[in-house]
Amino acid sequence: MSAIVRELSYAQAIQEALAIAMEDDERVFLMGEDIGVYGGAFQVTGDLVHRFGEDRVMDTPISELGGAGVAVGAALTGMRPVFELQFSDFSTLAMEQIVNQAAKLRFMLGGSVSVPLVIRMPTGSGTGAAAQHSQSLEAWFAHIPGLKVIEPTTPYDAKGMLLAAIADPDPVIMFEHKLLYKSKGPVPAGRYAVSLDKAQVRREGRDVTIVASGIMCSRALDAAATLAEEGVEAEVIDPRSLRPLDMATIVQSVKKTSRLLCVYEGVKTLGIGAEISAAIAESEAFAYLDAPILRLGGAESPIPYSPILEKAAVPQTPDIVAAARRLARGQV
């Protein structure tokens, strides 16, 4: 059985997943700001409202907290809502319902309810939107037991992981890096699912492991190509899921290469890579480390407006090349 594979953009892949989910299950519906005739701030929902109607693709008022709570209530009582926050920065307005309610209701009620809710949000910098529209808050959510947190980096994974998330009985937070929306890749037509708890080795290599999330994954792959010219073969791992983290794949890789570099856009301190580093140090991979673990993360500042500063605030491909090179050459 082979599905037709076409090239779709990341945004189109997400739209396709939403359409398939709504076709398959009438309990699935979308809520968000400007997702109807406007088509979504990043044109992800596109023409879905024309295909499925306003009852299935619901424009909410500008009420992130109210909207999130309504989504929780609907999920508690038989529906499967997919709630879109226009920017991940606006999740701050909805935190009460996401963290205190969605994440905890099943546990607090002793397992008698589930909250099958998906919250999608665009994340990250590089569009000149500045401090309040450019954050990477993945670490906040990955820190909350009761939530599942994913960050697909390819159109294939975006579609497959979103379909799996909608089918999942627990609340799933999906981060979509803004710079990925237009990126293209092969996507099979029809239904398939990608597991919500497995990392993906995007490039095999022997000399250094680079774990890179979100947009950093493609930057790491570019860096790996440059490094190959110097005879350094980097293994690039896309974690894809941040809660739970697939540490088994990362452990296996570090045992092979002995060197680890974590690259992530969220602020470096207390970010995703901090957890990965600590987890590796606690794991059986520790005895295989031949160099300290390095992290590249966002700067200790809000995201600036000016393009030069905006770029300097997060890891770029040359930074990854330099760090991996130093690691591989035993200069760290």
């Binding site: 080795v201 095999e204 022997r206 000399d207 190509a225 440059t226 190959a228 010219e229 110097e230 005879g231 073969e233 092979k256 290469t257 002995s258 606690e282 520790f286 005895a287 295989y288 480390l289 031949d290 160099a291 035993g330 200069q331 760290v332």
Partner: protein, 426 residues
Amino acid sequence: MAVEVILPRVDMDMETGKINHWFVAEGEAVVKGMPLFEIETDKAAMEIEAPADGILRGVSVKIGETLPVGAVVGWICARDEIFEAPVPGAVAEKPPAPPQAAPEALQSSGAGANGDLRATPKARRWAREQAIDLSSISGTGPDGRIQAKDVAPNRAGLTSPPPPRGALHGEWLARGAGTPIVFVHGFGADLNGWRPLHGYLSAGRGHFALDLPGHGQSDLMGPATLEAFVESVEATLVAEGVTSAHIVGHSLGGAVAAAYAAARPVRVRSLTLLAPAGLGPEFNGAFATGFLAAQGDASLAAWLRQLAVDEAALGAAMVKATLARRAERPHVEAQTKIAASLFPDGAQAFSVRTQLASYGGPLRVVFGLEDRILPAAQTRGLPGAVALHLLPNIGHMPHFEARAVTAEIIEDNVAAGDRRAAARSG
């Protein structure tokens, strides 16, 4: 019936309290709800109300005495009730403490302290495994840190354990399902030369590339003959658990592949040869000599440019990489031996034409018409079942110069090989 008066818990974390002051004396009348006594807690004082109407009796505690929450401090009796102080013991029992799960045993830390010795975890482990005293080793890492390569400088490929006896160094460029493709590079190259083409092949299948003896990270262990190379390939695939493969070979690697396929036709599902050696004696011997003799980057680069029609096709990356790897592990001696054995006096001393004829599986040959290392004319007279692809304006490196076309040809041949195998077993 006497109603007990207890010291109530008023704050969430309160475990004890003191009575500051009684508003009513022993024997006096009280009304339900009126202030009876004042308690003091960590937070602030609070008035406590009488729980019933009656006479206060049996006050048993002192002002300022620290009491546990729930302790009985007195009784409220009916007017005509005869009061006898009941046996004390009305302190509320705490609910049974839930059983504690035993905490997980802490992982014991690694081998004993080495004082001020700086060494990476891996270096320590290797030292332990090989019973080497770390203090006898000087480290080449930052601040004199001992790294793994300081402990075991002879271990091939620094980061990996040595391959099993006889097996060559190889790498999985991709893991996947189904019968994998095995890539064999040409003279003077190494497995990394397959990376640009690898990106053009569809995902899902395993791709394994190996370093020929005396190339990349494989040493020249035995004689420099085609037969010995074939045995090494066999040992390598066995070590990797590959029982059946599609083989793609380039140049010298194409000849090795053809020889292997003829020796093990059952294991080789398809054979795709790119500019294979061994089709005739003609060979640009000057290239081999010049390549091996070149000392500096510039001269090496000049010979490398002979490989392709459009030197840009090779990519600065590939050239740089080759130079860098040569700088690290020159293999000049080994490769000179190989050249002397296989291309003596500027001619190919071996032929694989018989092997090509005897293989019997799907077989395609790709040759660039502008190849300056091996002449395309050598492809004349190949068996009719062999599909021959002659590429105009392409040199000795179709996997660099015509990636898409080459990838497509490989995919088609691989598909044909799988179809055949399925038909046989079906």
